[in-house]
C-alpha cells in the first residue's frame, strides 16, 4: 500500500527533484554510516559486568538525539504504515541474534541467567528501541534505493523498446559498432513472439522473410554460430525449439558414469563413491548401469575406484547404440570406430568377456586410450587393431554384430566442443557424409547374415543433421537391398524423419531414433539398427558395385536411380545389355563378368 502511494507521489517528479532528493539522502547516509561505526561496541550488550552496561547506556543516550532527528526528517516525507510492520519483524530478528550470541558464549549464559536476568530484559527492551529506529532507517533507505532502481529500469525499458522499433538498417549499424547482448536477446524474443502470432503482431511493412533474416542475424551473433550451421538447425526445428536447442548447447550435459559390471555392481559402486562425498543418482529407468554425478569433491576421473576399473566416464548418449546392438554371449562383434573405448567396454561387459570383440579405430593416437581403458576395465576378449574402417570386410568379416559409431561433424555435442559452431562448412559435411556412407556399406558387408543369434548392424552418430543420419541410412538401404531396418529396442527418443525438405526416404526410417540435448538432456544423437537377412547382395547391385570399383572417383548417382526399380526385370535386362555393350571395350571387365556368369 505504502509503496504504491509513494510511487504515485514520486512519478510525476521531474528528474532534477529526484536527484536533489538523492543528494539529501546521501548526506543522511553519511550520518548513518558514522553511527554504524559506533555501533559495534553497543551490539554486545550481554557483557555480564554491570559497569560496562551502564557505560554503554550513557553512550546510547548521547546518540539518541541524532537518530531522532533523522527519523523526523524521513517521517515527514514517507508514510509510516509499512515501516512499522517491518520494524516489528526486525525486533524478532534481533532477539534471534541474541540467542545466537548466548549459544556461542557459555560463560555469558551462566552469568546472565543466574544473576541479572531481570535487568537484562529491561536493557534489551531499551536497546531494541534503539535498534528499531536504526532498522527503520535502513528499511527506508532500501526502499528509496529500490524506487530509484525501478525508475532507472523503466528508463532502460524505454530504450530497448525504442531499439526494437528502429529500422533494420539502423540495427545493422548498431550491431557493427558494438554488440549489446542483452539488447539482441530482447530483440530475438520479440521477433519470435511476432513470428508465433504473425497475423496480429506483424508490422505490415515487414514480410516474414524480413523477420527471419533479422532473427538469423541476431541468433548468429548471440550464440556464435556460422550462417550455414544456423540455417541447418532452423530447418531442423521450429523456431521455439531451435532456440531451446541453442540454449541447451550453452549448458554442459550432466556427467555420467557407467558401472563396470565385470568388476562391481552399481549399488556397491554408488556406495563407494558416496563415501567419498560424491553426490549421485541412477540415471533413469532405461539403464541399469548408469549413474549421474551432480557434484564431487574429488576428481571423478582419478578416484581409486576409477583406476581400479569399477566405472567408466561415458556420456549417457553413448549407452544407446550398445543397448540397441544388444550383443549376446559368445558372439564375435566388431566396433568399427572404437576410440576411446567406452562402447567397446560396454559391449564386453554385456557379453561377460565371452566371445570376441574387435575394437578398430583409424587413429593410432586415440587407440592408446582404447587399450588403456580395456585393460583398466578388465576386458579380456578384445582385439585392438588400427585399420581404416572401409577396409573391413577384406581384413576379416563374418561378424555376428557390427557397431558403427561413425565419425561425424559433432553437431550433437556442441555443448562439449563449441568449436563446431564456427568451423563446420558445407564441404566438411559433404566429406564426412561420404565417409559415413562408405563405412556403413563396409559395416554391412562385414556381417554374417547366417549367424544364429546375430546379423545386426547398428549405425549411430553424435550429429543431428539429416545429411549424416537419415540420408546415410537411406543410401545404405538403397545400395544394399539385403538389409532392412528393425526397431532399435530403445523405448524413448524421437522417430527419424521419413521425409525432409522435399526429400522422401524409406518409410521404415521411422524405426530409427533421434535424441536432442534440449528434450532428453543428453548429447544430440542418432541410432539406427539394421538386420541383414541375406549374404547375397542382389546380383544387379553387385554389377553396380563392380562399376563403382572401376571408377572410384565418380560414383555416379544417376545410375543408382536407374536401378532402384529392380523388380522390373525387363527394363533392367535391357539396360544391362546396353551397359555390357558399352563396356565391351574393356576386355578385363568382360572376363570378370563372363567368369561370374
Amino acid at each position: 500500500m505504502g509503496r504504491r502511494a509513494r510511487n504515485k507521489q514520486a512519478d510525476p517528479l521531474p528528474l532534477e527533484q529526484t536527484l536533489k532528493r538523492k543528494s539529501s539522502e546521501g548526506s543522511g547516509n553519511k550520518s548513518k554510516k558514522a553511527k554504524k561505526t559506533q555501533n559495534p561496541p553497543k551490539k554486545q550488550p550481554q557483557q555480564p559486568k554491570k559497569e560496562k552496561v551502564q557505560k554503554q547506556k550513557k553512550e546510547e543516550k548521547e546518540e539518541i538525539p541524532i537518530i531522532k532527528k533523522n527519523n523526523k526528517i524521513e517521517d515527514e516525507s514517507w508514510d509510516n504504515v509499512e515501516t512499522i510492520q517491518d520494524v516489528e519483524d526486525d525486533e524478532f530478528e534481533d532477539i534471534d541474534e541474541y540467542e545466537d550470541l548466548e549459544d556461542n558464549d557459555e560463560y555469558v549464559i551462566k552469568k546472565t541467567s543466574f544473576n541479572f536476568g531481570s535487568d537484562d530484559e529491561e536493557e534489551e527492551e531499551e536497546e531494541e528501541l534503539e535498534i528499531e529506529k536504526e532498522a527503520r532507517e535502513l528499511d527506508e533507505k532500501k526502499k528509496e534505493d529500490e524506487r530509484l532502481a525501478e525508475e532507472e529500469l523503466k528508463i532502460n525499458v524505454a530504450e530497448t523498446e525504442k531499439m526494437v522499433l528502429t529500422s533494420g538498417q539502423e540495427i545493422e549499424k548498431d550491431s557493427m559498432v558494438a554488440p549489446d547482448l542483452a539488447l539482441i536477446q530482447q530483440r530475438i524474443q520479440d521477433v519470435v513472439k511476432i513470428l508465433n502470432n504473425f497475423r496480429e503482431m506483424r508490422d505490415p511493412d515487414m514480410s516474414r522473410t524480413d523477420y527471419m533474416e533479422q532473427l538469423k542475424k541476431d541468433l548468429c551473433q548471440y550464440y556464435g554460430y556460422n550462417d550455414y550451421l544456423l540455417s541447418k538447425f532452423l530447418d531442423l526445428f521450429p523456431i521455439n525449439e531451435a532456440i531451446e536447442f541453442f540454449e541447451a548447447n550453452e549448458v554442459p550435459r550432466p556427467i555420467v558414469i557407467r558401472a563396470n559390471t565385470l568388476k562391481t555392481r552399481r549399488r556397491d559402486l554408488a556406495q563407494a563413491l558416496i563415501n567419498r562425498g560424491v553426490n549421485l543418482e541412477p540415471i533413469g529407468k532405461w539403464s541399469k548401469v548408469g549413474l549421474q554425478i551432480f557434484d564431487s569433491p574429488v576428481p571423478i576421473g582419478a578416484t581409486p575406484e576409477y583406476l581400479a576399473g569399477h566405472y567408466m566416464l561415458q556420456a549417457a548418449s553413448s549407452f544407446l547404440p550398445v543397448m540397441a546392438l544388444a550383443p549376446q554371449e559368445n558372439e564375435r562383434i566388431l566396433d568399427m570406430c572404437s576410440a576411446p573405448g567406452g562402447k567397446t567396454s560396454y559391449i564386453s561387459a554385456l557379453i561377460k568377456n565371452t566371445g570376441c570383440v574387435f575394437a578398430n579405430d583409424a587413429n593410432k593416437d586415440r587407440i592408446k586410450a582404447v587399450i588403456a581403458n580395456i585393460h583398466r576395465l578388465g576386458i579380456k576378449n578384445a582385439v585392438v587393431c588400427n585399420y581404416d574402417g572401409r577396409e573391413f570386410p577384406n581384413v576379416i568379416g563374418g561378424f555376428d554384430r557390427v557397431l558403427l559409431d561413425a565419425p561425424c561433424s559433432g553437431t550433437g555435442v556442441i555443448a562439449k566442443d563449441p568449436s563446431v559452431k564456427v568451423n563446420k562448412s558445407e564441404q566438411d559435411f559433404q566429406m564426412v557424409t561420404q565417409i559415413q556412407k562408405e563405412l556403413l556399406l563396409s559395416a554391412i558387408d562385414s556381417v554374417d547374415a547366417n549367424s544364429k543369434t546375430g546379423g545386426y548392424i547398428v549405425y549411430s552418430t553424435c550429429s543431428i543433421t539429416v545429411e549424416e543420419d537419415e540420408e546415410v541410412v537411406n543410401y545404405a538401404l538403397r545400395k544394399r537391398p539385403n538389409v532392412k531396418l528393425v526397431p532399435t529396442g530403445l523405448d524413448f527418443g524421437k522417430e527419424g524423419f521419413t521425409s525432409f525438405r522435399g526429400k522422401t526416404f524409406n518409410p521404415s526410417l521411422k524405426l530409427t531414433r533421434r535424441y536432442y540435448p534440449h528434450t532428453h538432456n543428453m548429447d544430440g544423437f542418432y541410432v539406427s539398427k539394421f538386420k541383414k537377412f541375406s549374404n547375397k547382395i542382389p546380383k544387379l547391385n553387385k554389377d553396380e558395385d563392380e562399376e563403382d570399383n572401376e571408377k572410384v572417383e565418380n560414383k555416379v548417382v544417376e545410375e543408382e536411380v536407374g536401378f532402384n526399380d529392380e523388380e522390373d526385370a525387363k527394363i533392367i535386362k535391357a539396360e544391362e545389355e546396353k551397359r555390357l555393350k558399352k563396356k565391351g571395350i574393356k576386355p578385363t571387365n568382360n572376363k570378370k563378368k563372363n567368369n561370374k556368369k
Binding site: A302, I367, I371, V383, C385, N386
Partner: protein, 180 residues
C-alpha cells in the same frame, strides 16, 4: 605375433613366479578354454587360443593389442611386468599387503609403501618377494617387492619402507602413452 622362445619363456616365468609362484599352472591349464602366451612387438599377451586365431587375420602393423598384456621384454632381454597384468596377478597372488586408506593415494602416485601405511600383511612373507598391494576394502592397487620380511616389519619405524613400488593403477593416468 609368435609363441615365446624357450629363453623368453624362462625369463618371463621366472618373473611371474615371483608374484604368483606355482599358480602359473592355473594360467596355462584352464578348465574353460585353452589359453596361450603370445609375443607381439616385444610385449607378452595372454589370450585364449580361439581369439588368437581370429587375430591372425590382422596385419602385424595394425594389430595393437589382443587379450591381456602382461608386460614387455626390455632391450636387454629382461622382462618387466605391466600394471595391466594386475587382474591375473591379484587372482593368484601368494603374498598380499593391504594399505590403510591414508596410504592409498601416496602409493598410487608411485611411492613406496611405508610402515605407517601398512594395514595388514600376509604372514611369513619373506624379504625381496613380489607382493600384491590391496586397499583395505580389497581393491588391488598394484604390486611391488617387499623390502622387509613380515617379522622385520614389526620392528620397523613408521617411515621405513615395507614394499618397493613396481607398478600401480595410477599408471593408467600417468603413463597411458608409454604403457602400451
Amino acid at each position: 605375433m609368435r609363441p615365446l622362445t624357450e629363453e623368453e619363456t624362462k625369463v618371463f616365468f621366472q618373473k611371474l613366479a615371483q608374484y604368483i609362484g606355482r599358480n602359473i599352472v592355473h594360467l596355462i591349464n584352464r578348465p574353460d578354454d585353452t589359453y596361450c602366451f603370445r609375443l607381439h612387438n616385444n610385449r607378452v599377451y595372454y589370450v585364449s587360443e580361439s581369439i588368437m586365431k581370429k587375430a591372425t587375420c590382422i596385419g602385424r602393423d595394425q594389430l595393437l593389442s589382443l587379450g591381456v598384456c602382461f608386460g614387455k621384454f626390455t632391450k636387454t632381454g629382461k622382462f618387466r611386468l605391466h600394471i595391466t597384468a594386475l587382474d591375473y596377478l591379484a587372482q593368484y597372488a601368494k603374498y598380499k599387503i593391504w594399505v590403510k586408506p591414508n596410504g592409498e593415494m601416496p602409493f598410487m602416485y608411485g611411492n613406496h609403501v611405508l610402515k605407517a601405511h601398512l594395514g595388514r600383511i600376509t604372514e611369513d612373507t619373506p624379504e625381496h618377494q613380489g607382493a600384491i598391494i590391496y586397499s583395505m576394502n580389497d581393491i588391488p592397487l598394484g604390486f611391488g617387492v617387499t623390502a622387509r620380511s613380515t617379522s622385520d616389519c614389526r620392528k620397523l619405524d613408521p617411515t621405513g619402507i615395507v614394499v618397493f613400488h613396481q607398478a600401480d593403477i595410477g599408471e593408467y593416468l600417468r603413463g597411458e602413452e608409454t604403457l602400451l
